[in-house]
């Protein structure tokens, strides 16, 4: 088999894995958008916030320690313990994300019911800034490593198998494989939750028609808090994966920007769309960078996803799996 083709295969395989990671972030967007029509720009910052909270709890840091030190002139940094079991820390972080969901609903979006979607979108941009500031203020803004015990490094089995097949071992990160499995479980879990539980049914009812759902006695408030909590949970999962991969730092919030073209491609309202869109973008940008990138100066992954989504949308404005946009006067 020609060498270039083997390389291309490795690149697309890695692209697929990255695509899964994009899809993880995109999932959170879809959840909130379906249930409340809010396009939540803050999803990426939520992932950052969740990851920082997780690291903070694991290391036993005192929240807002910098601010407290600045105001009172004290020197507090750590609580008496220095490491908390990962599972316990994750549970605590889930609790924080649920509290956050409740707050967001109570303080912000309760007052914005019935506003235009674009106003809601801008409100989430404001929320993203707010949350970013809070996250930095709470835990400090230096780069952290996140370790919850996920396997990392090259997967030797794949390396060996592909070496036997093609005479060239593929480099696939164990973490990416774990992320794919987790993403699959997460999607299956979310679909099962939406289909087979009472709350899930309420969620789908609200997504379908707010007023009809309200009239059969579903509490919109509860469903929205539920959805924001779920999105917070998805953000935590994405934060763990990305945080383990590249460290917990500000750039983590920028993955939200990467998830946007994924969503446009897949359609805002479809969970399978988020996955398929993520895969297409992941493979597409990896292959584009591999084939065309060197010719035009490299680092094309900054914009390729957007241009692909833009060109695609011109032909199909609702994305691959989105509901058809019907406009009435």
């Amino acid at each position: 088999m020609p060498e270039q083709l083997v390389f291309a295969m490795e690149v697309s395989l890695n692209g697929l894995m990255t695509g899964v990671m994009y899809a993880l972030v995109a999932l959170g967007f879809v959840l909130i958008y379906k249930a409340s029509g809010i396009f939540n720009y803050a999803q990426g910052v939520m992932a950052l916030f969740a990851a920082m909270t997780l690291v903070g709890i694991q290391e036993g840091r005192v929240p807002f320690s910098h601010l407290i030190n600045a105001i009172f002139g004290t020197e507090v940094h750590h609580l008496p313990w220095h490491s908390v079991p990962a599972l316990f820390a994750i549970l605590l972080t889930v609790g924080v994300m649920i509290a956050f969901a409740w707050l967001v609903q109570k303080v912000v979006f309760k007052h914005l019911v019935g506003q235009e979607p674009i106003i809601l979108f801008m409100a989430t941009i404001g929320l993203a800034y707010f949350l970013e500031g809070v996250a930095d203020l709470m835990w400090g803004s230096e780069i952290r490593t996140l370790d919850v015990g996920l396997p990392q490094g090259i997967n030797l089995v794949i390396d060996e198998t592909t070496f036997n097949w093609f005479g060239y071992g593929f480099f696939i990160d164990n973490l990416d494989i774990v992320a794919s499995v987790v993403a699959a479980i997460l999607v299956a879990g979310l679909v099962a939750f939406a289909q087979y539980t009472k709350q899930g049914r309420a969620m789908r009812a609200v997504a379908d028609d707010h007023q009809a759902a309200l009239s059969v006695g579903i509490s919109l408030n509860f469903v929205w808090i539920l959805v924001w909590s779920l999105a917070g949970f998805v953000a935590l999962v994405a934060g763990i994966m990305w945080g383990s991969k590249s460290g917990v730092q500000f750039s983590l919030s920028l993955i939200a920007l990467k998830a946007l073209p994924v969503l446009m491609l897949g359609g805002f309202t479809s969970i399978p769309g988020a996955i398929v869109g993520g895969l297409i973008i992941g493979v597409g940008e990896a292959l584009f960078e591999f084939t065309i990138g060197p010719m035009i100066g490299g680092a094309t992954e900054n914009w390729f996803a957007y241009v692909l989504a833009l060109v695609f949308l011109v032909f199909r404005p609702q994305g691959l799996f989105g509901e058809k946009i019907i406009e009435r006067v």
């Binding site: 409100a123 707010f130 203020l137 969503l263 446009m264």
Partner: protein, 358 residues
Amino acid sequence: MFYREAGDFKTSYSADNQTFPIAFDRWRYYLVLFVAIVVIPLTISDYWANSLLLPFLIYVIAALGLNILTGYCGQVSLGTGGFMAVGAYATYKLMTAFPWMDMVSVTILSGLVTAIVGVLFGLPSLRIKGFYLAVATLAAQFFLVWLFNRVPWFYNYSASGQISAPERSMFGVAVTGPNAEVWVKYLFCLFFVIVLAWIARNLTRGSVGRQWMAIRDMDIAAEIIGVNPLKSKLTAFAISSFFVGVSGALLFSVYLGAVEVGEAFGIQKSFLVLFMIIIGGLGSIFGSFAGAAFMVLLPVLLKIIGVDLLGWPTDIVAHIQLIVVGGLIVFFLIVEPHGLAQLWRLVKEKLRLWPFPH
């Protein structure tokens, strides 16, 4: 008491249609112009110009541009930073390729180049709507920044990848470069602000502006009553990009002097200008001024309070600034979706009756 319209009779249509129909407003406007043109250049100091006045004037132009597109025509754009970069790099190329050209022509030409690029990226708006479009404009943002970073022709193959403005003069005084004096820079920016604000005001209240607003309020209905969506959306993109391009050109050539594209024209800049028009007021010329003033003042104010008065470290103040900006955006969207401009309108309503309650 003072602020009233009783006794202010109009005897012609043009008098009735003027921008400031109330005499008090008109005189206040002339006073502001007088202070801006005559008083400030005489008293200006380096600190005030560089930390407040110049950025304010330059961002006013960008905010006016984005307000035309988003506030008047309803097309949300997150590509402002990218279009500002187009203006800056067009200025740089023009300044270095045609050293004899005067700065006003250079700036206007850069605006025109940006307008063409803006129309190109505005074409998809005919098919894509709402925040699908907002995300699509991010394509412009990232692609343009990447382009200026990676294609050496744009920065004249300089080793650092930066562009820096050479010295250019107008009427014998330096406008750009290290030797330019502050009052010259200030007057140069002020000239563009006054002219462009005047154009924006008159465009938005004429037939073009009414078409934009019809498209904003409901594009299908507008199409049915005879507004050409292609024409009005693309003119909005073109004129908005022209403004934004001029603003980018001034930011680079007059204010910063040397620019690295990812740092000066990144996505943060797009959001900054968007925040200006949200806080100032969507669909309002005054709002663009108020929003730009607010967003330029806020960091300076927070720095004075946090760092100088309370003695906190700068990074904490920077984080608090994020919180305050984000919180204010949400607050304004909840309490006053029409921004500072609406607050100003309410104050004026109150003033008209003052001191009588009814």
